[in-house]
Symmetry: C2
Subunit: 138 residues, 2 copies
């Protein structure tokens, strides 16, 4: 039996709430004119998406090469069986804040799922946060 699946646009406050609750997402950025996408852990602090990565990662290199690097960020939670859940989409700009006084403290707040050098702290400032909820109609 197939139910009707209704996409519902999230109110911005609700989308920001999901983003804050999530620990994991994917960042998209441009390197040499080509789109690149990478999974990352994050934490939201005062509205900024803080990620902690390696100095040598493609993302850290791109951010250092261009101040206020335009990025897109996506996080979602889709229940595998019912296919219900939500997806949040962010457009913003990324800045390397590794040298800032609060960087070490912010970096420590980001959950780390991989044992790699985490020596770059990057802040993504959201300019737009939108989202979609997938529900099953009855």
């Amino acid at each position: 039996m197939e139910h009707e699946r209704k996409p519902v646009e999230l109110r911005p406050e609700v989308a920001k709430g999901y983003l804050t609750h999530a620990e994991f997402g994917r960042v998209a950025f441009i390197v040499d004119g080509l789109p690149v996408i990478r999974p990352l852990n994050h934490v939201v602090v005062e509205g900024d998406i803080i990620v902690h990565t390696s100095h040598d990662s493609a993302f850290a290199q791109a951010v250092r090469a261009r101040p206020d690097l335009p990025v897109a960020y996506e996080t979602d939670e889709i229940e595998a069986h019912s296919h219900t859940g939500w997806s949040v989409l962010v457009r913003g700009t990324a800045t390397d804040i590794t040298g800032h006084p609060r960087a070490a403290q912010l970096g420590r707040q980001v959950p780390s799922w991989i044992d790699r050098p985490h020596d770059a702290v990057i802040a993504i400032r959201p300019h737009q946060v939108t989202g979609l909820r997938l529900t099953i109609g009855h």
Copy 2:
């Protein structure tokens, strides 16, 4: 207690296997010089990632505006509690195949989680497929 989490690079065949098994991912592409990311359902047919979307979606519009549109595609499965799982990254090019003889049949193979017009069939040809497994060391 904190275990050691070791990232292991997936062999290309294994990464392609995960991609084929998955039904859901995120595509990144460029619109007006800015990165855009969108969640999508997919099916892998003869090595191509087939997605079915609306003619008016940002992705379908970008693909029509530029043949062989460069894209990145990501799919992952991360277990929320243990933070173990995998992520697969694809670099490739996307083409609108809506008018092709096999498009309707290919489009019907893509799982559809959203009740929206799905009148564009797009094939992403992977040029590179890489992946990472997150495991917990003992």
